[in-house]
């Protein structure tokens, strides 16, 4: 499947592509093969978008003053943020 082949596609990319595909189809004039290919591609993208929205978990990195930029990064979660 396309979605499992390219899991790196970000939400923004997938959403933008989906908009393009829908626009392309709405503009009309595509051949049968193109129409079906676009349909399939668009459906993959739509489910990819929904999947990304549903599965996402907020990642928080702490950037501390004393350490170096990258090495000072450490993960924290919502609960510890409020401590």
């Amino acid at each position: 499947m396309e979605s499992s082949e390219r899991p790196a596609a970000s939400f923004e990319e997938a959403f933008q592509l989906l908009e393009d595909v829908v626009g392309c189809l709405e503009q009309g004039g595509l051949s049968l093969e193109e129409t079906l290919a676009r349909f399939e591609q668009g459906m993959h993208l739509a489910s990819r978008c929904l999947q990304l929205l549903d599965d996402a978990e907020l990642r928080v990195t702490r950037l501390l003053a004393d350490d170096g930029l990258q090495s000072g990064a450490e993960l924290m979660d919502l609960e510890s943020a409020a401590d």
């Binding site: 970000s10 923004e12 129409t35 003053a65 924290m76």
Partner: protein, 415 residues
């Protein structure tokens, strides 16, 4: 000995005034006297106390921005720069801020900084950057722990958890606050993860009294915001007064939660949008398929009409039709021929000598077998044969009477 011309000396003085940091940016308190307003709208007056006076000017454009206009006899604190006015050989204070005496020093400093940064273009609208539609990485600068970071993370988690948050904690009040804020903003601005920078910054602080917000009115903090590589949303948590940080920020929001709402799109709305696009996809595809089906049907129709097969079919039908008509015509013609043949046969039959015999005539043959049509063809005593319709009679000629016509008739009469 160096001798100046007057103009040279005036120029020297002008440069002296302009490049002196104290005279450039000076606060002076005094009383307003000799106030007059020019037709162009500028104010000219003297600031004086018991022993001295300084000429002052307040230009119309600057005056429009002031809350209080100069009034004669008023004790004021004015801010501006001193300049040497060569044409009149006098020095002059160009006023850009004017307050009644007794106003707080902090407010005066705030207004002076605001004026300075505004003139430098730090608040310019053209410079405000748009926020990204789908930010990947958001930097947050605020105090560690407490409600503000919690509120921001809660909103981001609910609305758009696809985003990554880089949190740079900093003191937001007290003496250390300006320095820590500047450092935190710089860390955020320089942060890279796999080469990717932060694409949006939230600079936040909870609500507090005006004194507590002083760090957000700091000049270095303002410059750090201005220099930040990503657009900055300020949420300094004070609804009524704008801090300098609010003015420099690309977007100002009233509270930290509101800043987080502004920073990211809403997941629920995005789901609806994606579903709507999927619907549009299905509809668009169906419409296109119906259209293509229509094209095929009409093309097929036109193909059938235009193809050689169609021409052959038409030709065949025409031929069959012709053939049928030809057959019909032939049949008619045969019938008429048959009819004519029959009628000829009947005519012929009428001419047949045998038919004549049927009517009672006879044929006479002489002894040589020749038909006798004239009496002289036979001799008396010659044997003859007489043919009748059914059978033959044989006999002998007994006598001959010659006549030019009607021999046969005569012979018959004799027989």
């Amino acid at each position: 000995v160096q001798v100046f011309s007057v103009a040279e000396l005036a120029l020297f003085l002008q440069e002296l005034f302009r490049f002196n940091p104290t005279l450039n940016d000076v606060w002076v308190k005094g009383e307003i006297s000799d106030l007059r307003r020019s037709p162009a709208g500028h104010f000219y007056f003297c600031l004086r106390d018991d022993t001295a006076q300084i000429k002052s000017v307040l230009f119309r454009g600057t005056a429009q921005r002031l809350v209080e206009l100069p009034q004669p006899g008023c004790a004021v604190v004015a801010h501006g720069c001193l300049d040497f006015y060569a044409a009149q050989g006098a020095c002059e204070l160009r006023v850009d801020l004017l307050y009644p005496e007794g106003v707080g020093l902090q407010l005066m400093q705030f207004e002076a900084l605001k004026l300075k940064l505004e003139q430098e273009g730090l608040f310019a609208l053209e410079r405000k950057r748009p926020l990204p539609t789908f930010p990947h990485r958001i930097g947050v600068v605020t105090s560690d722990g407490g409600a503000v970071i919690h509120d921001i993370l809660t909103v981001l988690e609910r609305r758009f958890p696809l985003v990554e948050v880089v949190f740079a904690p900093s003191a937001v009040q007290g003496e250390r606050a300006p320095g820590e804020l500047v450092a935190a903003i710089r860390r955020i601005s320089q942060f890279r993860h796999e080469g990717q920078p932060i694409d949006l910054v939230i600079l936040a602080r909870g609500g507090g009294s005006a004194d507590d917000l002083s760090a957000f009115n700091d000049e270095q903090v303002a410059r750090a915001i201005f220099a930040c590589g990503a657009p900055v949303i300020s949420a300094v948590g004070h609804q009524t007064d704008f801090t300098i940080a609010d003015l420099v920020a690309d977007v100002r929001s009233p509270t930290p939660s509101a800043a987080a709402e502004l920073a990211v799109p809403d997941r629920a709305a995005l789901r609806r949008e994606v579903r709507a696009m999927a619907d549009a996809l299905v509809e668009g595809t169906e419409a296109r398929l119906a259209e293509l089906r229509g094209h095929v049907a009409s093309a097929r129709q036109r193909l059938l009409l235009a193809s050689p097969m169609a021409a052959a079919h038409a030709r065949r039908a025409e031929l069959l039709d012709r053939l049928r008509r030809a057959e019909h015509a032939l049949a008619l013609s045969l019938q008429s021929h048959r009819y004519r043949v029959e009628s000829r046969r009947l005519q012929l039959q009428a001419l047949n000598p045998l038919a004549t015999l049927e009517r009672g005539y006879a044929i006479c043959y002489n002894h040589a077998g020749l038909v006798v049509t004239r009496a002289e063809q036979v001799a008396t005593g010659e044997r003859i044969v007489v043919q009748v319709a059914r059978g033959e009679l044989s006999g002998q000629v007994e006598g001959i009477q010659e006549r030019a016509d009607g021999v046969v008739g005569a012979a018959r009469r004799q027989l």
